[in-house]
Symmetry: C2
Subunit: 336 residues, 2 copies
Amino acid sequence: MLEFNELLYKENIQKVWATHTEVEKIADTLSSQKFENIFFIAIGGSQATIAGIQEMLKTRTTIPTYVESASEVVINSHKLLTKKSLVITISKSGDTKEIICAVEYLKKREIKTVAIVCNPSSPLAKLTDHVIVNPMLKGAEAMYLILLFLTLRLLHNNKEFDQYEKFIIQTKILPDNFTKAKTKFDPIALDFTNKYKDTSYQLWIGSGNCWYEVYSFAMCILEEMQWMVTKSVTSSEFFHGTLEIVEQNTCVILVKGLDKTRILDTRVEQFVPKISNNFTVIDLEDYIFDGIDRELYNLLAPALMSCICTERLASYLSRERNHSLDLRRYYRQLDY
Amino acid sequence: MLEFNELLYKENIQKVWATHTEVEKIADTLSSQKFENIFFIAIGGSQATIAGIQEMLKTRTTIPTYVESASEVVINSHKLLTKKSLVITISKSGDTKEIICAVEYLKKREIKTVAIVCNPSSPLAKLTDHVIVNPMLKGAEAMYLILLFLTLRLLHNNKEFDQYEKFIIQTKILPDNFTKAKTKFDPIALDFTNKYKDTSYQLWIGSGNCWYEVYSFAMCILEEMQWMVTKSVTSSEFFHGTLEIVEQNTCVILVKGLDKTRILDTRVEQFVPKISNNFTVIDLEDYIFDGIDRELYNLLAPALMSCICTERLASYLSRERNHSLDLRRYYRQLDY
């Protein structure tokens, strides 16, 4: 596989999995200290990741959960964000200015924060009350997994998720399962790239807990890293406006997820080919393997999408378009 | 002004304003019956409207408020949506299939619903526990206004909004103020249309309580009614991906709002001209008039945007592009 070191990847996912013991300690401390609600606060791709987690939690817990933008929350504060709240934030770099600013704001108001960062000596790691170090720099699946350990443990402590132990045991095989998923998707990623690398516009569609990963792929990989014009829309909202711009050659990509909103994806799958002959479906169902209960796989859907789409597609697009994923013309080049 | 009957418009807004007495009775009944949280449930443009209202409420009330998609909530139910919830929904037609389905679902679960509809004999009006009739078929400002009467009255009853009476008194001049705003924006709408009517792609940006109206304008007017390709992104998220696709000739439109997130709009306003020379700012500040406190105008910002952008721009785009706003090639033409 292009730019893929299987041994290193498996080792990294294994290290991510191993964080669960440390994460549990933090979660148990937080549960014992009590909190009234959970605010997920981040920005950009990180906000998309935590929003995917909140999407799963809201159907499973009576603890109120909210997602807020790090740049908005400091100027337009949510009335229920108080000293009795728990804030969970993530940032790979640990120095994104909006997140630093938000955590400083929270600290002043004595609001408890726990952050997942890749760099333990980053400003964010120093600021928050609790730090969890994500040992894997690339691949949002690592962030998803650690966030699942943290939040599902909180639910387990709240007697709302009795499959926590099973989830830990079963996810031990993720290094294998994710590698198998990547391997299976790899030739599809190359075909996809050859087909779409020169498109002037891509419409990406998804729903449920995968929607935010779809949004993030379009914005953070295609727009930010490949300077390709996109729009993303939910499978539900697609039928309330965006469908009208679809023509015979419009490039439309649907990611079919694993949760109950999959039936909304199916409507899109049946509708778009009536109009466009430039339509591709990426069905996550094709990339799940034995060893993990289907019900628990649902929770892993955005991580799985990150593992295949985000990483495999990004690698091939970068090579075939001769456009490094690290190239920026404005972000962190010009001030804003 | 093109396709504008001033007398009729003022009369309609006056009728909308007059609904407040009936709305108050319903709000007072709901308050006396108690509820634990408010769910705003709708779809498409209607969902955008109620999300703009929720955006304002969340900074003003300790009542938990949530926005859910009508098509998702019935299959992926929120754990806090219970018999103790109050559901507020809106639909112009009153027969949108996803909303009917959602209200039937809520009814079975004995969850209280109040709906704002334009057609009192529509299926939705017959299904809900409380109906408020919006006397104005065109213009989302009517829906915004009725939603503000309803929700601000609930906050007033909860001792969280002591300016309710003032809001009612001051908004009595809205027929005049909104007409002045339309009149002032009218030549700008024509210029805008001449400049942008043939663009292959428009990027719309906004924030805070106006963000959802920006999202809705791009999706429901430009995409659905004019078949024009767009993307919309928040002023905050713009800097985390989408900025990289902006080039010298990229068509970018920023709507500067009136609430505190306006400073995020200002960052966009300062940044984009460094790159694109095809950039337009619509500043809502230029369309507010005497007689209403600035603090209360903040609450009216999305209604104001609807009044100028959505209606004036849509009229000119339709005429100059010779493309009726009622034309659909797929929606309600093909099944989904």
